[in-house]
């Protein structure tokens, strides 16, 4: 591999890792607090992209405002999902998973009915052009994902470790019964977790709408990647998800560049299987007592 290609591949890997981390972190948070896997997380991502389509591409609103608008919009959908699906099925992982699988199809069909099928939505790139960083050329729209991911992940870390409400979330994730005995409302915490998970999926979809094929089915492939990231990182671990996202970003990007993209996907899944064999709890997951 030539030096220029190597540098470009490093840059591509960092961008891919940032994208994976932003998408997967909400999934990890929701699983950590509720012990429930949200199959509709990819559709939250999709709806975030559609918020940008409606308000930026169709409505003419400035791109940053449309992105910000995706946060409360999809957070509300997350809250509704918690109230209508996860709360009634609490304690039954399979029931919650299957119910959100149903929600996945409902949201896909609804998006298709409202905004149409056929090819991807036409969303103009707000920041056209590329930045040259150490010889690598990265699209400006991709460049902004790196600081955006850092800010989003930093804010989440601050909330979880420095804010009382966030500490309550962590307490619920570690031991819900003990947390309840301390007066922490499990219902409020699970609702909060799903609200945050929705907001993060939504903002990720919104940020990536200009570089992604926006269709009702766009969340499907991202969900698989997000699950791989969360499983490799350790199902309930935010830090593990971030670490796994960047590891997967580098592995996938380098394999794709050196061999081909089909091998890149295969090696990513093989990497997940390998981690589960050598460390069944994932990279940073813990075994509960």
């Amino acid at each position: 591999m030539e030096l220029a290609t190597f540098i470009q591949t490093i840059a591509n890997s960092v961008v891919a890792g940032s994208i994976y981390a932003t998408v997967a972190v909400g999934l990890a948070l929701a699983f950590g607090v509720m012990q429930m896997a949200n199959h509709a997380h990819g559709e939250f991502f999709m709806l975030g992209a559609y918020v940008v389509y409606v308000f930026y591409a169709l409505g003419g609103m400035p791109f940053p405002f449309a992105v910000l608008l995706a946060i409360p919009t999809i957070a509300v959908i997350g809250l509704l999902t918690e109230r209508l699906i996860f709360r009634p099925t609490r304690g039954n992982v399979l029931a919650g998973f299957m119910a959100t699988a149903g929600l996945t199809w409902i949201l896909q069909v609804a998006a298709g009915r409202i905004w149409g099928l056929a090819f991807m939505k036409k969303i103009p790139t707000p920041y056209m052009g590329a930045a040259t960083i150490a010889g690598a050329q990265i699209g400006l729209q991709r460049v902004i994902i790196i600081p955006a991911a850092c800010i989003l992940l930093g804010l989440l870390w601050f909330f979880l470790y420095r804010v009382k409400l966030g500490k309550g979330l962590r307490a619920c994730a570690q031991d819900p019964e003990a947390a309840a005995l301390q007066g922490i409302s499990i219902n409020k915490m699970t609702a909060l977790a799903m609200g945050i998970a929705g907001a993060y999926a939504g903002v990720a979809g919104a940020l990536m709408a200009p570089i992604h094929a926006v269709t009702p089915y766009m969340g499907r492939d991202l969900l698989i990647t997000a699950f791989i990231v969360v499983i490799v990182g350790g199902m309930a671990s935010i830090e593990g998800a971030v670490l796994a996202a960047f590891l997967l970003g580098f592995i996938h990007t380098f394999i794709t560049t050196i061999f081909d993209a089909t091998s890149g996907v295969m090696v990513g899944v093989a990497f997940m299987a390998f981690i589960l064999i050598v460390k069944p709890t994932g990279l940073m997951g813990r075994v509960k007592a």
């Binding site: 961008v15 090819f119 056209m128 052009g129 992604h212 990647t225 380098f254 794709t256 081909d260 996907v265």
Partner: protein, 435 residues
């Protein structure tokens, strides 16, 4: 301009005459009463990720059916038959397609089915062969000797992918390095094999020949790998339109300035991601021309089709589909018209008689130009309707694509087929290797 005359005028006049003849025959001049209805099927993805290849096709078929019915019906064997279309959503899955085929044939007695092809073609052909029902695929690679009633070719795939290496070599004889990619699925692999064979036959060094996974969401590393081979032409073969847009965006962002070539480029989508000047600079050559292209001529079937489509399905129209016309809106109707023409030539709706009549016809009028039944050396049976293949390039002044060449495939293929077929066989993609 010179090339345009070479490839354009030779077929434009026959095309116009052929279409006039078709519609004279279709409409007929004798006033006969419509007594019977012939049912037509539309079996394709109307929902789901593949709906873009199916759903829009309903509009073109409906326009043709409305025209025929407005004239009193299709004149076959001295009698007029009204046409009626029945649609079934196969969601691009084999089991659904078979269910749909059974419903369309057993409940509606359809004589002809418009389809996308691929897995649904594989699933339905035993049943449809037994029932002797025509199945028109968009993908000629579905054609096989054991599928006598499966016809294709109205869609120019993969002939366009085979002719693009010739087109770029003709225009740029000094260029040497050809890179090609498409998604990793059956049709992509087969079409890419035919393109690689053609590129080699035209003297290109094929420096990149790989596929990307259907799950790919980030094309940056794919493009980095392609550009590492320093290509003169990056060809996207049968890459799906959404992927094409994202790949061209990456080519632009990573500084590629050579030629871009593809089966189909959705110009409007790509324009959202890269400047139109970049698309003109890199040629962005592809097929599926626009029907408002002045190349067709002011008084043309294509221009009339656009007007009629807008009146029926455009903004504010009674059946407003809330989008602009696409190439798929007219892609399916090509084969429906061929079938209708065949029935008229045969004077019967008997499928064997129709096939016999079409194969015997020296020229079959289609909306892309005069065609012949061809394909035995590619697919083992002459079931490919082969009209000339239009090649368009993107132009900045109109922010659209314009036809640059209109090429007859058969003569070109005859002189190169040995080399091409050898490569296709080496890649295990010849029709008798794919069973």
């Amino acid at each position: 301009m010179k090339k345009k005359k070479i490839f354009g005028l030779s077929v434009r006049i026959p095309l116009l005459l052929a279409l006039i003849v078709t519609f004279s025959v279709v409409s007929g001049t004798t006033a006969l009463s419509a007594e019977d209805t012939i049912n037509i099927g539309f079996l394709a993805a109307l929902s789901g990720p593949d709906a873009g290849w199916g759903l829009p096709g309903l509009t073109g078929n409906q326009i043709f059916i409305d025209r025929v019915n407005a004239e009193g019906g299709l004149l076959v064997g001295g009698k007029r038959y009204k046409l009626k279309m029945h649609a079934f959503d196969d969601e691009a899955t084999g089991s659904k397609a078979l269910q749909g085929a059974r419903q369309l044939v057993l409940e509606h007695d359809v004589k002809f089915i418009s389809a996308i092809g691929g897995t649904p073609a594989d699933a339905t052909h035993p049943f449809l062969t037994k029932k002797k029902v025509f199945y028109a695929t968009l993908i000629s690679t579905d054609i096989m000797p054991d599928r006598p009633y499966l016809i294709g070719g109205g869609d120019v795939t993969p002939r366009i992918d085979m002719l693009r290496p010739w087109y770029h070599k003709f225009n740029n004889p000094k260029l040497k390095r050809w890179a090609v990619t498409s998604q990793d699925e059956t049709i992509g692999r087969t079409c890419q094999a035919w393109e690689v064979g053609s590129a080699i036959a035209e003297g290109w060094d094929v420096v990149y020949d790989k596929h990307f996974s259907l799950e790919t969401t980030d094309f940056a590393p794919v493009v980095t790998a392609i550009l590492a081979t320093k290509p003169d032409v990056v060809s996207l073969n049968l890459t799906w339109p959404d992927f094409v847009t994202l790949i061209i965006e990456q080519l632009y962002l990573q500084g590629y300035k050579g030629i871009i070539s593809a089966n189909y480029i959705d110009t409007e989508s790509v324009m959202q991601k890269v400047p139109i000047e970049y698309m003109e600079l890199t040629k962005s050559a592809n097929s599926f021309p626009l029907f408002d292209d002045p190349w067709w001529g002011e008084q043309s079937w294509q221009h009339e089709f656009i007007k009629e489509w807008n009146a029926k399905f455009g903004p504010g129209a009674p059946q407003d589909v809330k989008r602009k016309i696409t190439g798929i809106d007219w892609d399916h109707v090509i084969m429906l018209m061929v079938w209708a023409h065949g029935a008229q030539l045969a004077g019967s709706f008997d499928p064997d008689e129709i096939l016999k009549a079409l194969r015997a016809a020296p020229m079959i009028p289609t909306i892309l130009g005069p065609a012949v039944m061809y394909g035995k050396e590619m697919w083992g049976i002459d079931n490919m309707v082969s009209p000339p293949v239009p090649i368009a390039e993107v132009k900045a002044d109109c922010k659209c694509k314009r036809i640059q060449a209109h090429i007859k495939f058969e003569e070109w293929f005859e002189s190169r087929k040995d080399t091409i077929i050898k490569v296709v066989k080496e890649k295990g993609q010849y029709f008798d290797q794919r069973k």
